[in-house]
Symmetry: C2
């Protein structure tokens, strides 16, 4: 394979159901799981069948649409209470990625003034499809903006998976890399394996290899050594929620990379759609940080390597202060040294 067109469909609407790539099974198996209710979608988000902030947003939108379609022949009151329950279940699935709440708000807004259940359902499905299409388009725009920051021959470090699998397609951080390659630049990627869920080893390595993009896997803790030896030219990551001041929550382990990049004067880029910005949160310290089950730390994939009975902590996001961001790349453009004023200007509706 050559070039940079990502072919995997992270989520797709087929035969009236939402199909999700089961990201827990990758890379050993590429299989889809079909969801036909909001409950099933919420469960899939919670269990990380689908992950990545933009992909979670699109998935939740379809989750609302699915439920509306499922209930569209019910009496209006039953329809409305069922739909409200769907919104609540989806909102409770994961706490950190703001795109989830952003998508649910868009779905709420879309059906204002529409009351007949079948009409609401049709409106919601159209809105979910619009969110889905807009995410791909946003990723393409981010990619084009960001590609200009990547020099020919660059060795780029990325963390977790901010690729096609984390979005509706193309990717945020990996989209920027794909777009640079489309523009004719040679780019090689160092992928942090990203414990505990190993999104880097399982997903980023897989999707880049699928596209023929050179990728080398490393332990998360090796980035500092490779920076000290001059082997990393840029760090490019996604984000799960960006506060009004530019502080960015992303996969656990992102913040240490930003601190190391600053020490080594390596540019550190965050690539995320505007839907990731949460103007209601003043600063990163206020972003809710999900802690997941200890068994993600004590082993992997059914294999346990830690002693029985040992305690573990599993915060799955951290916060990188805005001062450590060389630039924030959104579909609206590149913001160098982001701060509250620049973000307020950017996030203002056009």
């Amino acid at each position: 394979m050559t070039g940079s067109a990502s072919t995997v469909e992270t989520l797709r609407w087929r035969d009236g159901r939402l199909e999700l790539v089961d990201q827990r099974a990758l890379p050993s198996e590429l299989r889809y799981i079909a969801c036909d209710s909001a409950t099933a979608v919420a469960q899939a988000i919670r269990d990380m069948v689908v992950r990545g902030a933009p992909a979670i947003g699109c998935t939740a939108a379809y989750g609302v649409a699915l439920e509306a379609l499922r209930l569209q022949n019910q009496a209006p009151e039953k329809f409305e209470s069922g739909l409200n329950a769907a919104f609540a279940a989806l909102a409770a699935s994961r706490p950190t990625a703001i795109n989830l709440f952003w998508a649910l708000n868009r779905m709420r807004d879309a059906c204002r003034g529409v009351s007949a259940p079948r009409e609401v359902a049709a409106t919601l499905l159209a809105e979910a499809r619009a969110i889905h299409a807009a995410d791909i388009e946003a990723n393409r725009r981010m990619g084009r903006h960001g590609a200009e920051l990547i020099r020919d021959g660059a060795r780029v470090l990325t963390h977790c998976n901010a690729g096609a699998l984390a979005t509706a397609g193309h990717g945020t951080a990996l989209g920027m890399i794909r777009s640079a390659i489309e523009a004719g630049k040679r780019v090689s990627v160092l992928a942090n394996e990203t414990r505990p869920f190993l999104q880097g080893a399982r997903l980023t390595a897989w999707e880049l290899a699928q596209d023929g993009i050179p990728v080398t896997l490393i332990a998360d803790s090796a980035a500092g050594f490779l920076m000290s030896r001059g082997e990393i030219d840029a760090v490019i990551v996604g984000a799960d929620r960006i506060a009004a001041n530019g502080d960015a929550a992303n996969k656990i382990g992102t913040y240490p990379l930003a601190v190391l990049a600053q020490r080594h004067r390596i540019p550190f880029y965050v690539v995320a759609p505007l839907s990731t910005i949460d103007l209601k949160i003043a600063r990163g310290a206020d972003i809710p940080i999900e802690e997941r089950a200890a068994d993600e730390i004590t082993g992997f994939g059914g294999v346990r390597w830690a002693p029985q009975g040992i305690a573990a902590r599993n915060p799955v996001f951290d916060v990188t202060p805005a001062e450590l961001l060389t630039a924030l790349i959104t579909e609206a453009g590149v913001i160098a040294a982001p701060d509250g004023a620049k973000i307020a200007k950017l996030a203002k509706p056009a």
Copy 2:
């Protein structure tokens, strides 16, 4: 169990053979592997049956003694060439920990002026036993010196395993914690799991739990988040080689912790015997850094999670510049803000 006496014997001399805890099998199984030749010992070091700089030094010393005993009834020339081959095989087993070469040099020095094979063999066994006993004593001294730096109630982060299992007993970093507990302080430990070989999850968690010391396991990349939330009071690690200027090589992932600790004004302590100091190496950048096989990165314990055919880099040590060390703790005392002059004074033979 209460208190702080570590009971596991990492290595022991029994019935004319060297027995090593098979650290690859922990924590699921506590078993010993017996070695009866230098070749077997070199293989055990290479395969990480035994690991940890001081333990590798003691093990290599016994490896020389074993070979001398095995060959002591040979003709003198054959004995000498066999012994030289043993030194060479052991020296080639792993490159970074200087304690290995330090111990081999001590063994060489011990038999100068002795020529009868049986007498050489007896001398070498006595020297290996002396190195073994001195390591435990050095750890106890380091522990007593270092314990004064730990406050009651401290939450200490450690990386890899610098415990009883990395030494002849008691441990360096974990020895300091054990000694603080012996002195009546309450100390809880956060253990980095330490990818790729998982020494933290498998060994540190196990040996601390054996001793009843509170330990919580985290992903290596979570340390930055926990520091940012004020949940870490000190970082304490061991070392594999310390250059003349105080730069310290230790398990991959140590350097990022030091950088993060500096940012958060958290003390960062390196605990290592004088035998870890290599005055022949001027600065950390000159320390040879071992890179191990890619398959340690692409999975663990026979389970592969990365895609087939993916490239991986696996440097297993990094270098922390002396400027990031709050103090270096050796058996000779505590050196705050270590530098070349302080280290030269310390490492001078008494």
